[in-house]
């Protein structure tokens, strides 16, 4: 098997990368400009020379057929979720239903101008209001803003809300606590929002170190940012105590919703004591990732945070005399932190998330989380049985929707690193897990299978990992030099950073 996966250049490898700027020829074009149908005025009089561009931007000159072929060929140099297993931990790579693409493309959604009079956008506002209500119920928190554009944008919203909350009470606080397992966006957000990051340690069970938290939680702390289950895939059993400590010093408790897919219908952040939650619609709610976005990061908040929510908010106004309810955009919010972006947010992602929630309903969402947890535990058990010595679980024997393995024993005994295993998985047709995160686990590998994978796929993945470990026992160089079958092989990243070439020289 391994031999077959180490041989010769594939057709894709024989194809040299050529950019769109290197294709086409002078005079070619794809766009036919509409005729000038108005009386021609002197262009120089309409736009004086000093304001004008002297040389056209050196864009490609290319025909439509060449353009289509260029980008279709490029697409074939991508691995994607529709082609294979993508257990990228913390990213919730679940199936993206195609119904969502179809409904989002309906002209009534796709060609609706964001500044259309609300009376003429009632369908869109109702959809947003319904999505808000659904997310509120899922989070267990009463108020929702859909505005943020991604998870980290939701985090910024949450920390700025926290600032507004404290300031409104006449308090100035300077610190925000984040566990050492936190995603990088958490501390980065804290700095952007003008606070100082204070790290909290992790205990032997993989949860927050309560003593450390107690020692660091004081009246200068504005907020604790947490995800639960955390990035180790472990549900923090002390969550109620954590909430008591944080609220005891008057701070807010923030829930990074990247891991919500573990608990839908089973437990709600609001019931755990969180004041603010962000959702990643591009994780738990199937918005396709698009190779790095678009995403969407709505937030849900408790009553005490509500006055500070971003503007505008959607209001449902009861109709009188049997008239249907109306939906309005309310801008009159004196305590609001303001806006985090233009218009109403990434509406196209709302259409998809709402379609998903309506397709699954209460039972389906709960089934999604339960199956996600089942699949993760099954894969963990299979891997433990097959490669438990080389790749032990970092914490515990059970997990939630994802789990962390440590490649440290494998590195020590077989001489291959987590990175090598990941690269060798590419030859087996799998997307590797998240690697080297969370930071506190040596040679970490964070695996999140999601609920939409079959048992057969999980089995095949576990066997591929086992085959790579067995192969490394024979000859570690194979993994160390992997991959072999991909369009390109290992790339010189250090060189790229040292002498950055970030655009085509023209």
């Amino acid at each position: 098997m391994s031999e077959a996966l180490t041989t010769g250049a594939s057709p894709l490898q024989r194809e040299q990368a050529v950019t769109v700027f290197e294709k086409g020829a002078p005079g070619r074009r794809a766009f036919a400009c509409p005729e000038l149908d108005v009386p021609e005025a002197d262009p120089a009089a309409l736009l004086p020379a000093g304001l004008r561009r002297s040389e056209p931007a050196r864009l490609p000159e290319i025909s439509e057929p060449e353009l289509v072929r260029h980008y279709v060929r490029l697409s074939k140099r991508n691995f994607d979720l529709d082609s294979g297993f993508y257990p990228l931990g913390s990213c919730t790579m679940k199936h993206n239903p195609r119904l969502h693409e179809r409904v989002a493309a309906l002209p009534g959604h796709a060609r609706l101008h964001p500044l259309q009079d609300p009376d003429r956008a009632q369908g869109a506002l109702e959809l947003m209001w319904r999505l808000e209500r659904s997310l509120s119920e899922i989070a267990g928190l009463p108020h929702v803003s859909l505005q943020p554009s991604a998870g980290s944008h939701g985090e910024l919203a949450g920390v700025l809300l926290t600032r507004a909350y404290h300031e409104d009470r006449g308090e100035t606080r300077h610190k925000v606590l984040t566990p050492d397992t936190a995603h990088g966006t958490n501390p980065a957000t804290v700095t952007m929002a003008g606070y100082e990051v204070v790290k909290v340690g992790t205990n032997a069970d993989g949860g927050v170190d309560i003593d450390d938290l107690r020692a660091k939680a004081d009246e200068d702390v504005a907020c604790l940012m947490l995800t639960n289950p955390n990035t180790l895939g472990i549900f923090d059993q002390n969550i109620e105590e954590i909430a008591r400590i944080v609220h005891g010093v008057g701070a807010t408790l923030y829930y990074d919703g990247a891991n919500l897919n573990a608990v839908m219908g089973r437990s709600r952040p609001g019931d755990m004591g969180f004041d603010i939650v962000h959702f990643n619609l591009h994780k738990s709610f199937t918005q396709p990732h698009g190779g790095g976005g678009p995403g969407s990061g709505p937030i849900a908040v408790s009553d005490r945070m509500e006055p500070y929510l971003m503007k505008p908010v959607i209001r449902r106004v009861q109709g009188s005399n049997g008239h249907a309810p109306r939906f309005e955009l309310d801008h009159d919010r004196p305590k609001s932190i303001g806006r985090l972006r233009g218009f109403q947010g990434n509406y196209g992602t709302f259409v998809r998330a709402y379609a998903y929630i309506r397709s699954l309903g209460a039972e389906g969402l709960q089934d999604a989380s339960e199956t996600a947890v089942l699949n993760a535990n099954y894969l963990l058990a299979r891997l433990r049985a097959l490669v438990g010595a080389e790749l032990p679980a970092a914490f515990g024997t059970l997990c939630m929707h994802e789990f962390v393995l440590s490649g440290a024993p494998m590195k020590k005994e077989l001489g291959i690193r987590t990175l090598d295993l990941a690269k060798r998985l590419l030859d087996h047709g799998f997307h590797p897990p998240t690697v080297y995160f969370p930071l506190l686990v040596d040679e970490a590998m964070l695996i999140e299978p999601t609920e939409t994978e079959t048992k057969e796929t999980l089995d095949a993945f576990a066997e591929a990992v086992a085959a790579i470990v067995a192969e490394a026992r024979e000859d570690p160089a194979i993994a160390r030099n992997a991959p072999y079958t991909t369009p390109v092989r290992r790339l010189d990243e250090a060189g790229a950073a040292k002498r950055p070439v970030i655009r085509q020289p023209l």
Partner: protein, 458 residues
């Protein structure tokens, strides 16, 4: 069981046995009693695909989209034609469904698209450095001010009142967090008041921000605005509409340090405001302070040309609290549409489009200001959008026009109380001379009717 999961009873039994538990409930045993929901979510039951489709279609039909009326709405997002090949490419699994390209060997398609996109944005802006996209326009403006804060530590941001109201509001929200003071400079004759602008810039100023064309559609003298900041330490930020950049002097030739903007006009749908993308370009000096992903060219072990995410030591996953930004997921798919659109327009097409809009905008301004009760709000050069001043209640005029299937534009009064009669009218290549003539007829009649009504009630 939802239709997106696949566990059969037989699978379940095998899997639980392998795990060594008796039930799914046991897998959730870690949840303390006090935080268990203990009831089903209070949400409607799931629906079959065809019913969800019907429901979503019904909601769509209660919106009046650009398909249903003749619209001249712009004000930041524009109804340009999106070529069919963009729909096709954006719906391809290989572009639609991957994550951020963390494994470059199997992500060369997406990485090369980023590299091409960066090249296109650099060409458009005449600035050497572009990232691979940020969320959208207004937050890009706020992020540019944050870049300035990190670069020079000065606490004041000077912003023109010609910058999109949403951008100014977003800037205020962000700036309150990282502790900057925002000072607004007013407009004079439709453009940034040059004297007030120069007077506002001092030793404390970290960034100055204008928009091109500004929110009232006027073309600013970008070079003069940038010049006024020379000699100070301020980063000069311009927020640009990308379409007129085919004919407007690019930011890189005007002394602008950072050019940002809303990318929607480049091949993205209106989508009621998003998803679209924001572009972010800068001079070489700010390369290592850029927010977001950047793709770079390199080679693989066999010497093949390839692309990777690069300069990652700026980013949150490496630098954490010291990162230049918190952005992670951005807008890669929308940026793909952007670069495909620019390639589709091509070198000459972008210029032709700019010249066409210039002529039609001029024609529309002439036609509409010839109407009774309608004047130009300013006389500055305009390229795709212009502001009118109506001698009538603007909202009611808009309503009257909409009753005739025409949306004449955006009422300026809420954002600019100094222009209670302001109406902002935008053009794209989809609005022909016949459409403009129809707008003139409908708007003329609506203004006349509204003035008559107002006289009667007075």
């Amino acid at each position: 069981m939802s239709t997106y999961t696949a566990t059969t009873p037989q699978d379940l039994e095998t899997m639980l046995a392998e795990i060594g538990v008796a039930s799914i409930d046991e897998l959730f045993a870690a949840l303390p009693e006090g935080v268990r929901l203990g009831r089903p979510l209070d949400l409607p039951a799931g629906l079959p695909e065809q019913d969800v489709y019907a429901h979503l279609r019904e909601l769509a039909e209660r919106n009046v989209s650009a398909e249903d009326e003749l619209t001249f709405l712009g004000a930041g997002m524009y109804d340009h034609y999106v070529p069919a090949l963009i729909d096709m490419l954006m719906s391809r699994s290989e572009f639609l469904t991957p994550y951020t390209p963390y494994q470059p060997e199997i992500s060369q398609g997406g990485l090369q698209v980023m590299f091409e996109y960066q090249t296109a944005i650099s060409e458009l802006t005449a600035l050497p450095v572009s990232n691979a996209s940020v969320y959208e326009g207004p937050s890009a403006v706020a992020s540019a001010a944050y870049l300035a804060k990190l670069a020079n530590g000065r606490r004041k941001v000077v912003v023109s009142r010609g910058v999109h109201p949403h951008s100014r509001e977003t800037l205020l929200t962000y700036a309150h967090g990282y502790g900057a003071e925002v000072v607004e400079v007013g407009l004079k004759d439709g453009v940034t008041d040059a004297e007030a602008w120069a007077a506002a810039i001092d030793d404390d100023t970290g960034a100055v921000i204008f928009q091109q064309p500004n929110f009232l559609g006027a073309v600013e003298d970008a070079a003069a605005l940038a010049e006024a900041a020379k000699g100070s330490s301020a980063v000069v930020v311009g927020a640009y509409d990308p379409i007129p950049l085919g004919i407007l002097r690019p930011p890189g030739e005007c002394g602008v340090d950072v050019a940002v903007g809303e990318g929607q006009p480049l091949g993205n749908r209106l989508d009621f405001g998003g998803p679209s993308f924001g572009f972010f370009a800068a001079t070489e000096a700010y390369l290592r302070r850029m927010p977001g992903r950047i793709a770079g060219e390199t080679t693989d072990v066999d010497g093949r040309r390839g692309f990777v995410l690069t300069l990652q030591t700026r980013e949150q996953h490496i630098r954490r609290e010291k990162a230049t930004s918190n952005i992670c997921t951005a807008q890669a798919l929308n940026a793909l549409a952007g670069v495909v659109y620019l390639a589709w327009l091509g070198r000459r097409g972008l210029v032709e489009l700019g010249e066409l809009l210039l002529q039609r905008t001029h024609y529309a301004r002439e036609r509409l200001t010839a109407l009774d009760g309608v004047e130009a709000l300013h006389d500055q050069p305009v390229v795709r959008e212009f502001a009118l001043s109506l001698d009538a209640d603007v909202r009611r005029v808009i309503e009257r026009c909409q009753d005739h299937g025409v949306n004449p534009g955006y009422a300026l009064g809420d954002d600019y109380p100094e222009h209670p009669g302001g109406l902002l009218v935008a053009l794209t290549e989809q609005r022909s001379r016949a459409d403009i003539d129809r707008l003139a007829d409908v708007l003329g009649a609506a203004v006349a009717a509204e003035r008559t009504t107002a006289q009667v009630t007075a």
